[in-house]
Symmetry: C2
Subunit: 94 residues, 2 copies
């Protein structure tokens, strides 16, 4: 299990979330292509696969397998806990 904070601490993973938030349901190869074409990130397929594994482990990406393809979907729900941790907190006067 990877927490949301670690999952977000990587620019490649953040860019993957950018792409998925714009266009859901992409496969590993499609994501690899977009990262190379639009962001100049030339990583191996396995590197991206591991990144997607981290994002899925943190609950930020959900997957659905059909045939030999695996489709990835962005789930923004875990992001809510980040800000609420420090915004909705009672203050102790000094």
């Amino acid at each position: 299990m990877v927490d949301v904070f670690r999952a977000l601490d990587d620019e490649t993973r953040r860019t993957i979330l950018d792409e998925l938030s714009m266009r859901d349901g992409q496969t590993l190869f499609e994501i690899c292509s977009l990262l190379t074409m639009r962001h100049g990130l030339s990583h191996s397929r396995q590197a991206i696969s591991q990144h997607l594994g981290v994002l899925e482990s943190a609950g930020l990406v959900e997957t659905e397998r059909r045939g030999r393809s695996k489709f990835h979907y962005f789930n923004p729900e875990p992001l809510a806990a980040i800000t609420t941790r420090w915004t909705t907190r009672k203050r102790t006067e000094q």
Copy 2:
């Protein structure tokens, strides 16, 4: 310069933000005490000092020096950019 995502990718730093968000203007020694007493984190003074440096470099903590003491203040503003990056984004239909 440290970005917000890296600064948040550490439980000790997140706990420091917890403490500062509850009670602003604490010194290094006060923060060290709280981490040991209330959270069982027994790190050296230098370790906490380095964490505060990271948080300050990310803009999450601001400091004010008076005499030989340095007071630390929580600044939640950089947190806003995290969620807005993925929530306020136009979606491309597939």
